[in-house]
C-alpha cells in the first residue's frame, strides 16, 4: 500500500516539470547505463554472465535433432554465427503466412512445426529461451533494425497505442514512466527508458532468463492490470513498437538487468 502511495507521489511531483512524448533519438539510453558498475561488469563478462548458460544450452539445442526423423536447426541453417547474424536485430518481422508481425520466438516455433515437424516449444520454457538467446546472441552489438517494412506500419501504430494507454488499478501507461520519468527513481530503482535491447535477459529479480513478453506481463501486472497471454497479438505489437523505438541501438543479448 505504501508503495502505491510512494509511486503516486513520485509521479505527481515529476508530472509538473515534464512534457509527455517520445524520447529524441539522440537521447536514448539503454538500461545498461542506469545499472551499477558491478551489474554492468556482470553483463560484460561472458564467463560470469548467467545468461550465457542459456546461450550455451541453446547452442546444444541448435545441433540437436528433435527426434531421429527430424532435422536439427543446424541441418538447414549450418553455422549459426553466420546464418543467424543480424536476424534477431530484425525481429519482430512481418510474416506473410500470419498476415501480421511475429516475434523471434514465434518464428522459431514456426520452424519447429513446419520445417522440423516437431511440437513447438512452450512460451517461456527453458528450451525456447535457450534457443532464442543463442540466436539473438549472434546479433550482439549490431544495430536494431525493426519496423521500416511498410506492412508493419499499422502494427507499430497499434503497439504505440498500447504503450500510451493507461491501464490497471494504478491507471498508468508505459509512457508515463519510461518516456516522461526515466532517470528518476521509483523506490530504490532507477526508472529506465525501457528499451528492448537485450532480450532474452537474465533478470536478477527473476534469478533466471526471461523474454520480453515476460517482462511486459510483469509490468502490466505490476500496475494491477490483467496481462495478455503469452503470444497475444497485443504483446507482439508492443514488442514490435519497442524494438522500433530502439531502432539503431545495439542489441545486447544476453543482457543482465536488475
Amino acid at each position: 500500500m505504501s508503495r502505491l502511495v510512494g509511486l503516486l507521489l513520485v509521479l505527481a511531483i515529476a508530472a509538473v516539470a515534464v512534457v509527455a512524448g517520445e524520447i529524441p533519438l539522440s537521447e536514448r539510453r539503454s538500461g545498461y547505463e542506469s545499472m551499477r558498475p558491478e551489474t554492468r561488469s556482470l553483463q560484460d563478462d561472458d564467463t560470469a554472465n548467467p545468461g550465457m548458460l542459456w546461450v550455451a544450452e541453446g547452442k546444444d539445442l541448435w545441433s540437436a535433432k528433435p527426434d531421429s526423423a527430424s532435422r536439427a536447426c543446424a541441418d538447414c541453417h549450418g553455422d549459426a554465427s553466420v546464418s543467424m547474424k543480424a536476424v534477431a536485430a530484425r525481429y519482430p518481422a512481418f510474416s506473410a503466412a500470419a498476415g501480421r508481425p511475429i516475434d523471434l520466438e514465434q518464428r522459431i516455433n514456426a520452424c519447429r512445426s513446419h520445417q522440423q515437424h516437431a511440437s513447438p516449444f512452450v512460451f517461456e520454457s527453458r528450451e525456447l529461451l535457450a534457443i532464442t538467446a543463442y540466436i539473438a546472441r549472434q546479433s550482439r552489438g549490431m544495430p536494431i533494425e525493426v519496423g521500416s517494412d511498410p506492412r508493419l506500419e499499422p502494427f507499430v501504430a497499434a503497439g504505440r497505442e498500447e504503450f500510451g494507454r493507461r491501464r490497471g488499478q494504478l491507471n498508468l501507461a508505459c509512457t508515463q514512466c519510461h518516456d516522461d520519468n526515466w532517470g528518476k527513481h521509483l523506490g530504490g530503482s532507477v526508472i529506465p527508458q525501457g528499451h528492448a535491447t537485450g532480450y532474452p535477459i537474465y533478470r536478477l529479480e527473476w534469478q533466471a532468463m526471461g523474454s520480453l513478453q515476460r517482462r511486459l506481463r510483469g509490468c502490466i501486472s505490476g500496475v494491477r492490470s490483467e496481462p495478455y497471454a503469452y503470444g497475444a497479438p497485443e504483446l507482439v505489437n508492443l514488442e514490435l513498437f519497442l524494438m522500433w523505438r530502439a531502432r539503431g541501438m545495439p542489441l545486447e543479448t544476453p543482457a543482465v538487468r536488475p
Binding site: R3, L42, L186, G187, S189, E205, S221
Partner: protein, 148 residues
C-alpha cells in the same frame, strides 16, 4: 520440519536445525556460529577485506570478493574462509577451503542478501589463528511487484 545437516568446514563439524520458514538469523546466532568455528581461539579483526557493493542492485545476486592478506606459503597460508550474514534466514553463506596451491587468497562469488545488513568473513590461518573482516550493504526491494 526436517533437521538439516550443515557441515561447517575447517575441521569443526556442527549440526544446525533448520529454522521455520519465516525465521531470521540474528547477530547472536552469527556470534554463536563463529564461536563454534573458532573454539576458544577467538578472532582478531584484520587481514580480511570484503569487496561488497554498498548499495545493491538486487538482493538476489550480490557480488562478493573476499581477499586475505597472506603470503600463501606452506608455512603461512589461509586454510579456509567462512562467510556469515546476520539478517538472512540463516547465518551461513559459504565456506571456502584453500591451500598454498592457490597462490592468492582471493575468492569471488555472488550471494543473496535478504535485507540491509553486514557480511562477515572469518578466515582460519595455517597456524590455527582466526582473522575477520566485514562490510555493510544496503538492500532495497524491487520497485514494482509482479504477480507472475
Amino acid at each position: 520440519m526436517k533437521r538439516r545437516d550443515f557441515l561447517v568446514a575447517g575441521g569443526v563439524g556442527a549440526v544446525f536445525g533448520a529454522a521455520a520458514a519465516t525465521a531470521r538469523a540474528t547477530p547472536a546466532e552469527v556470534l554463536e556460529a563463529v564461536r563454534q568455528l573458532t573454539g576458544p581461539a577467538g578472532v582478531k579483526p584484520g587481514r580480511v577485506t570484503l569487496d561488497l557493493p554498498p548499495l545493491v542492485e538486487n538482493g538476489n545476486s550480490v557480488p562478493l570478493t573476499v581477499s586475505v592478506d597472506s603470503p600463501m606459503t606452506a608455512a603461512d597460508h589461509v586454510k579456509s574462509i567462512h562467510v556469515f550474514v546476520e539478517k538472512n534466514p540463516q547465518p551461513f553463506v559459504a565456506s571456502f577451503h584453500l591451500s598454498p596451491r592457490a597462490g592468492r587468497a582471493v575468492v569471488s562469488t555472488r550471494i543473496r542478501l535478504a535485507d540491509t545488513q553486514s557480511v562477515l568473513a572469518v578466515c582460519e590461518m595455517s597456524d590455527g589463528s582466526f582473522f575477520s573482516g566485514s562490510a555493510d550493504s544496503v538492500v532495497t526491494l524491487a520497485a514494482c511487484t509482479e504477480s507472475e
